[in-house]
């Protein structure tokens, strides 16, 4: 029997789950297809969620009422705010999540959504008619029809596992790879490339000598990944830190010829920022020690994830080098580490909703687009899910730009630059990072999320309340006060006769929002998060003002649209390299072209002149 849906999501990882969930929240009929129901919501690698840049993405997805933040809170056994000593814009919330609890939370949230069906089985092919996708065919021959198909297949496309000298087809260890679908996508003329990633061996925590290792306790604060989570509920555990040493490095160095990375079996590019231990030792030979975080995988499992020693060396070498480290002398490896080489689509073939430009109805999200990380995947799933649902519902597409979200930074980077290594979010990628804080994601994004219908009823109520309180506080903060008024109220400011708004006064380090209630009794803040957000807004306000002119220029250049079919080869003055990159990226505006790597202002001028000439010719 053939079933009909509006949107079909293939893959139940972080991208697939967010895509299916947001489409369902928006009110379209969704099928979430996974090899097994059990595999949905699995964390296949690191048990951590969040981090620098990544924590921002989690909060942004959460601002659309996404799953990842709330599920992380339900599963969090360890909280840590990274960069706590630095400005709020680069602070990154990060948790260790219990795998079982996380998956349970995701399953519960998906079950609560009306209009979302879970379909178990393997997808064997896409149903294509001309340049559009009409649905999928399952391995048992069942056809599922829909207006949009979102591929969120992770590393499952032509995945190949490597461990020492052996290699097998597969996405995650113990699971099958999507071979036939991969062949079809290759056949459809989509630009495909290969990347690799790796994972460390999993260790039995009962064989770790914890007493010998420095502990890293969970943060004492009470912050949570999602602001709607009321409090932390799961018991907290500590992580520990061990280190590699000369002996570890010697063993690894002697066995390099047995690593598929060095024997030539893998030639795909891995991430520079998350290199395997053999890569680190080879490339940074001068370092004699690397930190290894021992992260418990959950409350009811003994598995420990040794963060920092991703490897594809043979199991005997893995065991030997692990046991050189302090605290791990007796360690038993439960699952050896391995490397995965997999296909990804060159994301420059996608538009900003992550739809394949040349195929109607086909979207790609997550690792399939050359990214790495749960958070990056979740954010793409959200964007693709919204894109597909908007088309189904005839709504205008979601428009985000680099000055309003990390998600937009990532999408813009992907569709313009493509990837040469697995793409990971970094705060350094966001040039307007001062305005893109993890703590103001709700304020930045929930309004547009609400407009599009992405917020569930509970979130909407919470958001409306919060917005009202925020507006009221900001209104009071507009009032002008002199330095005398503040000083008399016991605030530490110089009595120099300055008179300015309370918001401007907030910029001073010794002026806090709750202290101002001594002057303005109506000023009350029910939530410490809102208070912190407003204080940070005030603190960085002068720097944001300085960016305004730059943003105006940027937006002016975004008004200059470029012909997607522009023949860059015909423009004099562009190097072959630039022509190639521009052809692949097909920038939609002059601003986008300016961000394509290697495009100089002189080249931009040439593109602009060429465009004007063509328009003049057309007009003539």
């Amino acid at each position: 029997m053939n079933q009909d849906f509006d949107v079909i999501v293939v893959g139940g990882g972080h991208a697939g789950c967010e895509a299916a969930a947001v489409a369902a929240r928006m009110g379209v009929r969704v099928a979430l297809v996974s090899f097994t129901r059990d595999g949905i919501g699995a964390m296949s690698c690191n048990p951590a969620i969040g981090g620098l840049g990544k924590g921002h993405l989690v909060r942004e997805v959460d601002a659309f009422d996404g799953l990842i933040g709330r599920a992380a809170d339900e599963a969090a056994i360890h909280y840590r705010m990274l960069n706590l000593s630095k400005g709020a814009a680069v602070q990154g919330p990060r948790v260790q999540a219990d795998r079982t609890l996380y998956r349970r939370a995701i399953h519960r949230m998906l079950d609560e959504l009306d209009g979302l069906s879970i379909v178990e089985g393997e997808v064997s092919s896409l149903i294509l008619s001309g340049y559009r996708v009409d649905g999928i065919v399952m391995a048992d021959g069942t056809k599922l029809m829909a207006q949009a198909v979102i591929l969120a297949t992770g590393t499952f496309l032509n995945g190949k596992l490597f461990r020492g000298e052996e290699s097998v087809a597969g996405g995650r260890t113990g699971e099958a790879a999507s071979l036939s679908l991969g062949e079809q996508i290759r056949g459809a003329g989509l630009p495909i490339a290969r990347l690799k990633t790796g994972t460390p061996p999993r260790i039995d925590g009962r064989t770790v000598n914890w007493a010998e290792l420095p502990e890293q306790p969970s943060d004492g604060e009470d912050w949570t990944m999602s602001p709607v989570t009321k409090s932390r509920t799961v018991p907290q555990v500590f992580c520990a830190v061990s280190r590699t040493n000369k002996q570890t490095h010697d063993i690894i160095r002697e066995s390099l010829d047995r690593s598929p990375l060095f024997s030539g079996a893998i030639d795909a590019q891995g991430p520079r920022y998350c290199p395997s231990i053999e890569d680190k030792i080879h490339r940074f030979a001068d370092r004699d020690s690397h930190q290894v975080f021992l992260e418990p995988e959950g409350l009811d499992t003994h598995l420990v994830y040794p963060n920092g020693i991703s490897t594809s060396l043979p199991p005997d070498v893995q065991e030997a080098f692990v046991r050189t480290m302090s605290g791990l002398e007796q360690a038993e490896i439960v699952v050896p580490g391995y490397a995965v080489e997999y296909d990804h689509i060159d994301p420059r073939a996608l538009d900003r909703s992550l739809k394949v430009r040349d195929l109607e109805g086909l979207y790609c999200a997550g690792q399939i687009n050359g990214t790495t990380g749960y958070e990056e995947a979740a954010a793409q799933g959200l964007i693709a899910g919204i894109g597909a649902a908007c088309v189904v519902q005839g709504k205008a597409a979601l428009e985000l730009d680099r000055s309003t979200s990390y998600m937009a930074v990532m999408i813009d980077d992907l569709v313009l630059q493509g990837v040469t290594e697995p793409y990971r979010m970094l705060t350094a990628r966001a040039e307007y990072r001062l305005r893109l804080r993890a703590d103001n994601a709700t304020t930045r994004l929930s309004p547009v999320a609400r407009e599009l219908g992405c917020l569930g009823p509970e979130r909407t109520a919470w958001f409306v309340n919060r917005s009202r309180e925020r507006a009221e506080i900001l209104r009071i903060l507009e009032k002008d006060y002199g330095s005398e008024d503040l000083a008399s109220a016991g605030l530490e400011v110089r009595r120099d006769g300055t008179r300015q708004s309370l918001f401007a006064w907030l910029r001073f380090p010794d002026v806090a929002l709750d202290l101002l209630s001594q002057i303005e009794p109506d000023l009350s803040v029910s939530c410490s998060r809102l208070q912190a957000e407003i204080e940070e807004d005030a603190r960085y306000a002068p720097y944001l003002e300085r960016q305004e002119a730059e943003l105006r220029d940027l937006r002016a250049n975004e008004q200059i649209t470029l012909d997607p079919a522009m023949d860059y080869g015909a423009i004099a003055g562009l190097s072959n390299e630039m022509v190639e990159r521009l052809k692949a990226a097909r920038p939609d505006t002059l601003a986008a072209a300016s961000r394509v790597r290697g495009v100089t202002p002189a080249a931009l001028a040439a593109i602009l002149v060429h465009t004007r000439r063509k328009n003049a010719r057309k007009a003539a």
Binding site: L52, K86, Q291, T427, R433, A572, R595, P601, A602
Partner: protein, 431 residues
Amino acid sequence: MSAEDTIFALSSGQPPAAIAVLRVSGDRARDVLCNLTGSVPDERRASLVQVRDPDSDDLLDMALALWFPGPHTATGEDLAELHCHGGRAVVRAIESVLSKQTGLRKAEPGEFTRRAFANGRMDLAEAEGLSDLLFAETEIQRRSAMQMAGGSLSRQVEEWQKMLLALSAQVEAELDFSDEDDVVPAQLEKIRQSTGTLATTIGDILKRPRTEKLREGIRVVLGGPPNSGKSTLLNALVDREAAIVSDIAGTTRDVIEVPVALGGIPFLFVDTAGLRDEAGEEIEQIGIERAHKQFDQADVILWLGEEGQGPDSMALIELAARKDHPEHRKKSSGVLALSPITGEGMNDLVDLLIEKAADLLPADQQLSVNERQAGHLAAVHDHVSDIGTESDFLIIAENLRLARQELDALTGRASTEHMLDSLFGNFCIGK
């Protein structure tokens, strides 16, 4: 006027000259060459051709023709050159035939350079240098323009870019990877030291005279009451060198400006003529105000009046300029006494002016910038100076980003990706 016209111009100096070079740039260049010479020579090879008027078939000249197909040409477009004999009549005749060709028009001043820039053949700083080079009329102007067109500013900026990129990489590593012990902590003191040095270097460049000074010349204002010998002195300076470059009309009718090159250095002599001819108190007042305005803008004031009566200015040089005159009054010892009539002391004055000019013009081989570039550099200076008192890495990173962006605006290039490249090249990052 449209940018897609094919343009032509006499690219060499004003005839008569031994050779005149006529340049044609644009889509029609090939056809034009074919129409006038009957053929298109091999690419980038000089061939001897007959230049004829296609309408009358009259032979205009025997010339060398060159054909450069775009885009790898000076302008980035198809380009043709005719090297013909440099007589006025020949040049005029060929120009007239060219202007009759369809789709062809005479180039606007600087249009070849504009096209070269628009077609990505040079960056902005190089384009500015080239434009100065084309304007250069004195040796020192030429050398300075050569430096710019050759990219010496661009190279310097590139060095600064590299340095700022390296600093950004350190700060970004601190912001994005500090939880991973493989990153060496960014050292605030070292960063401040580097940005401090850069601020000083740029500050020094900003203190130097702008390159516009090279084009406009050292502004020498002659001051003194009516009949103190200003005009005589001016005429003597001008006649002596007979090097009037062109006659620029005074900004007001009351001021005479005469450009003169002395020892290869451009000067602009300004005679505050208004003071002399006006009568009546009210007008006199206006004249004095104008004179003072001139004094304010002067690089050098030659004061011919009563000693000590001149405007209070560092630029002032007392002169006793009428040594030959019966009313000549000596000034203190050390004050140059001269006579424009007899020529006595004139060489000393010229030497003195050249010596002064050395302090006022960008020194040879020294990097100097124009007003536009100075604007960007001043912004860079502000951003890197701010780092000196900042300890929030987030704000340091923002200041570095803004500084890099201003340098980008100067010449081009660099992006977040460059910074990441630099970051990853220098650090072992990751867990």
